[in-house]
Subunit: 195 residues, 2 copies
Amino acid sequence: MNYPTGIKRNNNQIINYSHRGMNLEDDINQTNTYYREKNIAYIYKKPTPIKVTKVDFKKNRTSIIKEAFYMEPSTTDYNGIYKGYYIDFEAKETKNKSSFPLANIHKHQIKHLENITNHGGIGFLIVRFSTLNKTYLLKAKDLFSFIKNDKRKSIPIRIFESKGKLIKENYNPRLDYLKVVNEFLEVKQNDKKEK
Amino acid sequence: MNYPTGIKRNNNQIINYSHRGMNLEDDINQTNTYYREKNIAYIYKKPTPIKVTKVDFKKNRTSIIKEAFYMEPSTTDYNGIYKGYYIDFEAKETKNKSSFPLANIHKHQIKHLENITNHGGIGFLIVRFSTLNKTYLLKAKDLFSFIKNDKRKSIPIRIFESKGKLIKENYNPRLDYLKVVNEFLEVKQNDKKEK
Protein backbone atom coordinates (compact mmCIF):
# COMPACT_ATOMS: atom_id res chain seq x y z
CA MET A 1 0.00 0.00 0.00
CA ASN A 2 1.29 3.42 -0.88
CA TYR A 3 -0.23 5.55 1.87
CA PRO A 4 0.94 6.13 5.41
CA THR A 5 -0.80 4.30 8.22
CA GLY A 6 -1.03 7.47 10.29
CA ILE A 7 -0.75 11.15 9.37
CA LYS A 8 -0.54 14.18 11.59
CA ARG A 9 -3.10 16.92 11.11
CA ASN A 10 -2.68 20.62 11.87
CA ASN A 11 -4.64 20.23 15.07
CA ASN A 12 -2.18 17.54 16.22
CA GLN A 13 -4.85 14.88 16.02
CA ILE A 14 -3.42 11.57 14.84
CA ILE A 15 -5.62 9.93 12.28
CA ASN A 16 -5.13 6.25 11.73
CA TYR A 17 -5.75 5.19 8.15
CA SER A 18 -4.95 1.53 8.68
CA HIS A 19 -8.66 0.68 8.84
CA ARG A 20 -9.57 3.12 6.14
CA GLY A 21 -9.92 0.49 3.46
CA MET A 22 -12.22 -1.74 5.48
CA ASN A 23 -15.49 -0.39 4.14
CA LEU A 24 -15.79 -0.65 0.39
CA GLU A 25 -18.96 1.42 0.20
CA ASP A 26 -17.33 4.36 2.00
CA ASP A 27 -14.29 4.15 -0.29
CA ILE A 28 -16.47 4.20 -3.42
CA ASN A 29 -18.64 7.02 -2.12
CA GLN A 30 -15.55 9.10 -1.30
CA THR A 31 -14.15 8.33 -4.76
CA ASN A 32 -17.41 9.33 -6.47
CA THR A 33 -17.45 12.60 -4.52
CA TYR A 34 -13.88 13.22 -5.72
CA TYR A 35 -14.90 12.52 -9.34
CA ARG A 36 -17.81 14.98 -9.06
CA GLU A 37 -15.72 17.70 -7.40
CA LYS A 38 -13.11 17.37 -10.15
CA ASN A 39 -15.86 17.28 -12.84
CA ILE A 40 -14.59 13.89 -14.02
CA ALA A 41 -17.73 11.77 -13.73
CA TYR A 42 -21.20 11.84 -12.17
CA ILE A 43 -21.73 8.49 -10.53
CA TYR A 44 -23.99 8.00 -7.50
CA LYS A 45 -25.01 5.22 -5.17
CA LYS A 46 -28.72 4.58 -5.41
CA PRO A 47 -30.62 4.89 -2.13
CA THR A 48 -31.54 1.59 -0.44
CA PRO A 49 -35.11 0.72 -1.43
CA ILE A 50 -37.39 0.83 1.61
CA LYS A 51 -41.09 0.01 1.79
CA VAL A 52 -42.77 2.46 4.14
CA THR A 53 -45.86 1.09 5.93
CA LYS A 54 -46.56 3.64 8.71
CA VAL A 55 -45.93 7.38 8.66
CA ASP A 56 -46.63 10.08 11.18
CA PHE A 57 -47.45 12.90 8.76
CA LYS A 58 -46.27 16.37 9.65
CA LYS A 59 -45.87 19.62 7.79
CA ASN A 60 -42.58 20.93 6.34
CA ARG A 61 -41.22 17.55 5.27
CA THR A 62 -40.58 16.44 8.84
CA SER A 63 -42.86 13.39 8.66
CA ILE A 64 -41.56 10.53 10.80
CA ILE A 65 -41.60 7.03 9.36
CA LYS A 66 -42.78 4.71 12.13
CA GLU A 67 -42.60 1.37 10.32
CA ALA A 68 -40.76 0.33 7.19
CA PHE A 69 -38.96 -2.64 5.67
CA TYR A 70 -35.86 -3.14 3.54
CA MET A 71 -36.62 -4.30 0.00
CA GLU A 72 -34.51 -6.19 -2.50
CA PRO A 73 -32.85 -3.81 -4.98
CA SER A 74 -34.03 -4.30 -8.59
CA THR A 75 -30.82 -2.99 -10.14
CA THR A 76 -27.19 -2.54 -9.17
CA ASP A 77 -26.13 -0.05 -6.51
CA TYR A 78 -24.17 2.46 -8.58
CA ASN A 79 -24.77 4.19 -11.90
CA GLY A 80 -23.96 7.39 -13.70
CA ILE A 81 -22.12 8.99 -16.60
CA TYR A 82 -18.44 9.13 -17.58
CA LYS A 83 -17.07 10.49 -20.88
CA GLY A 84 -20.56 10.17 -22.38
CA TYR A 85 -20.81 6.51 -21.40
CA TYR A 86 -23.48 5.03 -19.17
CA ILE A 87 -21.68 3.42 -16.20
CA ASP A 88 -23.30 0.74 -14.02
CA PHE A 89 -21.79 -1.49 -11.36
CA GLU A 90 -22.25 -3.50 -8.21
CA ALA A 91 -19.70 -3.52 -5.36
CA LYS A 92 -19.23 -6.37 -2.91
CA GLU A 93 -16.87 -7.36 -0.14
CA THR A 94 -15.95 -10.88 0.86
CA LYS A 95 -13.89 -12.24 3.74
CA ASN A 96 -13.21 -15.33 1.67
CA LYS A 97 -9.52 -15.53 0.64
CA SER A 98 -9.69 -17.74 -2.41
CA SER A 99 -12.97 -17.03 -4.18
CA PHE A 100 -16.02 -14.77 -4.46
CA PRO A 101 -19.35 -16.55 -3.81
CA LEU A 102 -21.85 -15.73 -6.56
CA ALA A 103 -24.64 -15.89 -3.95
CA ASN A 104 -23.53 -12.34 -3.09
CA ILE A 105 -25.13 -10.98 -6.27
CA HIS A 106 -28.83 -11.33 -7.03
CA LYS A 107 -29.77 -12.99 -10.32
CA HIS A 108 -31.78 -9.93 -11.40
CA GLN A 109 -28.69 -7.77 -10.81
CA ILE A 110 -26.71 -9.98 -13.21
CA LYS A 111 -29.61 -9.77 -15.69
CA HIS A 112 -29.57 -5.99 -15.27
CA LEU A 113 -25.83 -5.85 -16.06
CA GLU A 114 -26.51 -7.97 -19.17
CA ASN A 115 -29.27 -5.62 -20.34
CA ILE A 116 -27.23 -2.47 -19.94
CA THR A 117 -24.10 -3.88 -21.61
CA ASN A 118 -26.26 -5.07 -24.53
CA HIS A 119 -27.42 -1.46 -24.90
CA GLY A 120 -23.92 0.04 -24.95
CA GLY A 121 -23.40 0.70 -21.25
CA ILE A 122 -20.24 -0.12 -19.32
CA GLY A 123 -21.05 -2.65 -16.62
CA PHE A 124 -18.73 -4.24 -14.08
CA LEU A 125 -18.27 -5.63 -10.59
CA ILE A 126 -15.98 -4.25 -7.92
CA VAL A 127 -15.04 -7.02 -5.49
CA ARG A 128 -12.94 -6.51 -2.39
CA PHE A 129 -11.24 -9.47 -0.77
CA SER A 130 -11.13 -7.70 2.58
CA THR A 131 -8.87 -10.22 4.34
CA LEU A 132 -6.30 -9.85 1.55
CA ASN A 133 -6.94 -6.10 1.28
CA LYS A 134 -7.22 -6.39 -2.51
CA THR A 135 -9.95 -4.83 -4.64
CA TYR A 136 -10.59 -5.95 -8.21
CA LEU A 137 -12.69 -4.68 -11.09
CA LEU A 138 -14.20 -7.42 -13.25
CA LYS A 139 -15.97 -6.50 -16.48
CA ALA A 140 -19.59 -7.68 -16.75
CA LYS A 141 -18.62 -9.57 -19.94
CA ASP A 142 -16.09 -11.67 -17.98
CA LEU A 143 -18.65 -12.28 -15.24
CA PHE A 144 -21.16 -13.57 -17.83
CA SER A 145 -18.62 -15.83 -19.51
CA PHE A 146 -17.65 -17.33 -16.14
CA ILE A 147 -21.31 -18.03 -15.28
CA LYS A 148 -21.94 -19.49 -18.74
CA ASN A 149 -18.87 -21.72 -18.94
CA ASP A 150 -18.22 -22.65 -15.34
CA LYS A 151 -20.54 -24.58 -13.04
CA ARG A 152 -18.88 -23.41 -9.82
CA LYS A 153 -20.86 -21.21 -7.46
CA SER A 154 -17.85 -19.06 -6.58
CA ILE A 155 -15.46 -17.15 -8.81
CA PRO A 156 -11.88 -18.15 -7.92
CA ILE A 157 -9.57 -15.24 -7.14
CA ARG A 158 -7.33 -16.25 -10.06
CA ILE A 159 -10.16 -15.18 -12.43
CA PHE A 160 -9.99 -11.71 -10.87
CA GLU A 161 -6.19 -11.78 -11.15
CA SER A 162 -6.17 -12.86 -14.79
CA LYS A 163 -9.36 -11.36 -16.33
CA GLY A 164 -9.93 -8.49 -13.88
CA LYS A 165 -7.77 -5.58 -12.82
CA LEU A 166 -6.46 -4.71 -9.38
CA ILE A 167 -7.65 -1.24 -8.31
CA LYS A 168 -4.90 0.61 -6.51
CA GLU A 169 -5.75 2.22 -3.18
CA ASN A 170 -4.67 5.77 -2.60
CA TYR A 171 -5.26 8.71 -0.36
CA ASN A 172 -7.54 10.69 -2.68
CA PRO A 173 -9.37 9.30 -4.57
CA ARG A 174 -9.29 6.22 -2.40
CA LEU A 175 -10.24 3.78 -5.13
CA ASP A 176 -9.59 5.17 -8.60
CA TYR A 177 -11.67 2.59 -10.51
CA LEU A 178 -12.15 4.88 -13.53
CA LYS A 179 -8.44 4.48 -14.25
CA VAL A 180 -9.20 0.82 -14.93
CA VAL A 181 -12.31 1.77 -16.94
CA ASN A 182 -10.06 4.02 -19.07
CA GLU A 183 -7.93 1.02 -20.03
CA PHE A 184 -11.05 -0.84 -21.14
CA LEU A 185 -12.26 2.16 -23.14
CA GLU A 186 -8.91 2.38 -24.96
CA VAL A 187 -9.19 -1.28 -25.94
CA LYS A 188 -12.81 -0.66 -27.06
CA GLN A 189 -11.77 2.32 -29.20
CA ASN A 190 -8.84 0.42 -30.72
CA ASP A 191 -11.21 -2.44 -31.57
CA LYS A 192 -13.45 0.05 -33.37
CA LYS A 193 -10.52 1.45 -35.36
CA GLU A 194 -9.45 -2.00 -36.48
CA LYS A 195 -12.91 -2.79 -37.84
CA MET B 1 -57.25 11.49 -25.50
CA ASN B 2 -57.22 8.43 -27.66
CA TYR B 3 -58.12 5.73 -25.17
CA PRO B 4 -61.54 4.68 -23.87
CA THR B 5 -62.67 5.98 -20.50
CA GLY B 6 -63.78 2.48 -19.44
CA ILE B 7 -62.98 -0.97 -20.76
CA LYS B 8 -64.53 -4.29 -19.93
CA ARG B 9 -62.28 -7.07 -18.71
CA ASN B 10 -62.83 -10.81 -19.05
CA ASN B 11 -64.00 -11.04 -15.47
CA ASN B 12 -66.69 -8.43 -16.20
CA GLN B 13 -65.01 -5.92 -13.96
CA ILE B 14 -65.33 -2.42 -15.34
CA ILE B 15 -62.09 -0.51 -15.07
CA ASN B 16 -62.33 3.22 -15.27
CA TYR B 17 -59.35 4.77 -16.98
CA SER B 18 -60.56 8.33 -16.74
CA HIS B 19 -58.40 8.89 -13.66
CA ARG B 20 -55.58 6.86 -15.05
CA GLY B 21 -53.52 9.83 -16.10
CA MET B 22 -53.74 11.57 -12.75
CA ASN B 23 -50.56 10.15 -11.32
CA LEU B 24 -47.53 10.99 -13.41
CA GLU B 25 -45.19 8.73 -11.44
CA ASP B 26 -47.38 5.67 -12.08
CA ASP B 27 -47.57 6.49 -15.78
CA ILE B 28 -43.79 6.80 -16.08
CA ASN B 29 -43.16 3.63 -14.07
CA GLN B 30 -45.61 1.70 -16.29
CA THR B 31 -43.92 3.14 -19.38
CA ASN B 32 -40.44 2.19 -18.11
CA THR B 33 -41.65 -1.35 -17.42
CA TYR B 34 -42.97 -1.47 -21.00
CA TYR B 35 -39.60 -0.26 -22.34
CA ARG B 36 -37.78 -2.96 -20.36
CA GLU B 37 -40.15 -5.73 -21.39
CA LYS B 38 -39.72 -4.75 -25.04
CA ASN B 39 -35.93 -4.43 -24.58
CA ILE B 40 -36.10 -0.79 -25.71
CA ALA B 41 -34.48 0.99 -22.77
CA TYR B 42 -33.47 0.37 -19.15
CA ILE B 43 -34.64 3.36 -17.16
CA TYR B 44 -35.58 3.14 -13.48
CA LYS B 45 -36.93 5.42 -10.80
CA LYS B 46 -34.43 5.78 -7.99
CA PRO B 47 -35.71 4.78 -4.54
CA THR B 48 -36.67 7.67 -2.25
CA PRO B 49 -33.71 8.43 0.02
CA ILE B 50 -34.58 7.62 3.64
CA LYS B 51 -32.43 8.11 6.73
CA VAL B 52 -32.96 5.18 9.07
CA THR B 53 -32.46 5.98 12.76
CA LYS B 54 -33.93 2.96 14.61
CA VAL B 55 -33.99 -0.65 13.47
CA ASP B 56 -35.27 -3.78 15.13
CA PHE B 57 -32.67 -6.22 13.76
CA LYS B 58 -33.85 -9.68 12.82
CA LYS B 59 -32.43 -12.52 10.80
CA ASN B 60 -33.33 -13.29 7.17
CA ARG B 61 -33.66 -9.68 6.03
CA THR B 62 -36.88 -9.15 7.96
CA SER B 63 -35.52 -6.32 10.12
CA ILE B 64 -38.19 -3.77 10.95
CA ILE B 65 -37.33 -0.10 10.66
CA LYS B 66 -38.88 1.64 13.67
CA GLU B 67 -37.87 5.23 12.96
CA ALA B 68 -36.74 6.92 9.78
CA PHE B 69 -36.95 10.23 7.94
CA TYR B 70 -37.35 11.32 4.32
CA MET B 71 -34.26 12.99 2.89
CA GLU B 72 -33.82 15.43 0.04
CA PRO B 73 -32.80 13.64 -3.16
CA SER B 74 -29.32 14.64 -4.40
CA THR B 75 -30.06 13.87 -8.04
CA THR B 76 -33.09 13.54 -10.31
CA ASP B 77 -35.60 10.72 -9.87
CA TYR B 78 -35.06 8.76 -13.09
CA ASN B 79 -32.01 7.56 -14.97
CA GLY B 80 -30.89 4.78 -17.26
CA ILE B 81 -29.72 3.84 -20.72
CA TYR B 82 -31.30 4.18 -24.19
CA LYS B 83 -29.51 3.50 -27.49
CA GLY B 84 -26.18 3.78 -25.69
CA TYR B 85 -27.06 7.21 -24.29
CA TYR B 86 -27.18 8.06 -20.61
CA ILE B 87 -30.73 9.30 -19.88
CA ASP B 88 -31.59 11.42 -16.84
CA PHE B 89 -34.76 13.30 -15.97
CA GLU B 90 -37.03 14.72 -13.33
CA ALA B 91 -40.84 14.44 -13.52
CA LYS B 92 -43.24 16.89 -11.88
CA GLU B 93 -46.96 17.59 -11.79
CA THR B 94 -48.58 20.95 -11.29
CA LYS B 95 -52.21 21.96 -10.85
CA ASN B 96 -51.29 25.39 -12.16
CA LYS B 97 -52.87 26.04 -15.57
CA SER B 98 -50.61 28.71 -16.97
CA SER B 99 -47.11 28.05 -15.67
CA PHE B 100 -44.78 25.63 -13.89
CA PRO B 101 -43.29 27.03 -10.64
CA LEU B 102 -39.53 26.47 -10.57
CA ALA B 103 -39.76 25.97 -6.79
CA ASN B 104 -40.85 22.42 -7.70
CA ILE B 105 -37.29 21.50 -8.67
CA HIS B 106 -34.39 21.70 -6.25
CA LYS B 107 -31.40 23.79 -7.29
CA HIS B 108 -29.05 20.81 -6.94
CA GLN B 109 -31.29 18.84 -9.30
CA ILE B 110 -30.88 21.56 -11.93
CA LYS B 111 -27.13 21.54 -11.29
CA HIS B 112 -27.16 17.75 -11.68
CA LEU B 113 -28.93 18.05 -15.07
CA GLU B 114 -26.29 20.60 -16.11
CA ASN B 115 -23.45 18.27 -15.11
CA ILE B 116 -24.81 15.26 -16.96
CA THR B 117 -25.63 17.18 -20.16
CA ASN B 118 -22.10 18.68 -20.13
CA HIS B 119 -20.80 15.09 -20.06
CA GLY B 120 -22.86 13.91 -23.03
CA GLY B 121 -25.98 12.69 -21.25
CA ILE B 122 -29.56 13.40 -22.33
CA GLY B 123 -31.31 15.38 -19.61
CA PHE B 124 -34.85 16.69 -19.55
CA LEU B 125 -37.91 17.52 -17.50
CA ILE B 126 -41.31 15.88 -17.84
CA VAL B 127 -43.98 18.26 -16.59
CA ARG B 128 -47.67 17.41 -16.34
CA PHE B 129 -50.22 20.20 -16.15
CA SER B 130 -52.71 17.91 -14.45
CA THR B 131 -55.70 20.27 -14.66
CA LEU B 132 -55.19 20.58 -18.43
CA ASN B 133 -54.27 16.88 -18.73
CA LYS B 134 -51.22 17.78 -20.81
CA THR B 135 -47.72 16.38 -20.32
CA TYR B 136 -44.66 18.02 -21.86
CA LEU B 137 -41.03 17.10 -22.25
CA LEU B 138 -38.62 20.03 -21.99
CA LYS B 139 -34.95 19.52 -22.78
CA ALA B 140 -32.54 20.45 -19.97
CA LYS B 141 -30.86 22.92 -22.37
CA ASP B 142 -34.15 24.85 -22.75
CA LEU B 143 -34.65 24.79 -18.99
CA PHE B 144 -31.18 26.29 -18.45
CA SER B 145 -31.69 29.00 -21.06
CA PHE B 146 -35.02 29.99 -19.46
CA ILE B 147 -33.40 30.24 -16.00
CA LYS B 148 -30.47 32.20 -17.42
CA ASN B 149 -32.43 34.68 -19.52
CA ASP B 150 -35.69 35.05 -17.64
CA LYS B 151 -36.11 36.36 -14.13
CA ARG B 152 -39.55 34.81 -13.59
CA LYS B 153 -39.91 32.09 -10.96
CA SER B 154 -42.33 30.08 -13.08
CA ILE B 155 -41.98 28.75 -16.62
CA PRO B 156 -45.03 29.87 -18.66
CA ILE B 157 -46.87 27.05 -20.42
CA ARG B 158 -46.15 28.72 -23.78
CA ILE B 159 -42.45 27.84 -23.28
CA PHE B 160 -43.47 24.18 -23.01
CA GLU B 161 -45.69 24.60 -26.10
CA SER B 162 -42.98 26.27 -28.17
CA LYS B 163 -39.66 24.81 -26.94
CA GLY B 164 -40.94 21.54 -25.46
CA LYS B 165 -42.91 18.66 -26.95
CA LEU B 166 -46.32 17.33 -25.95
CA ILE B 167 -46.09 13.65 -24.96
CA LYS B 168 -49.10 11.75 -26.27
CA GLU B 169 -50.95 9.54 -23.80
CA ASN B 170 -51.81 6.03 -24.86
CA TYR B 171 -52.91 2.73 -23.47
CA ASN B 172 -49.50 0.98 -23.51
CA PRO B 173 -47.03 2.53 -23.08
CA ARG B 174 -48.99 5.22 -21.29
CA LEU B 175 -46.48 7.99 -21.85
CA ASP B 176 -44.13 7.26 -24.73
CA TYR B 177 -41.55 9.93 -23.90
CA LEU B 178 -38.74 8.16 -25.78
CA LYS B 179 -40.59 8.96 -29.00
CA VAL B 180 -39.87 12.62 -28.22
CA VAL B 181 -36.27 11.78 -27.25
CA ASN B 182 -35.91 10.11 -30.68
CA GLU B 183 -36.77 13.38 -32.40
CA PHE B 184 -34.08 15.15 -30.38
CA LEU B 185 -31.53 12.43 -31.19
CA GLU B 186 -32.24 12.79 -34.92
CA VAL B 187 -31.59 16.54 -34.70
CA LYS B 188 -28.38 15.82 -32.73
CA GLN B 189 -27.16 13.31 -35.33
CA ASN B 190 -28.00 15.66 -38.21
CA ASP B 191 -26.07 18.42 -36.45
CA LYS B 192 -23.07 16.09 -36.26
CA LYS B 193 -23.30 15.27 -39.97
CA GLU B 194 -23.40 18.93 -40.92
CA LYS B 195 -20.20 19.65 -38.98
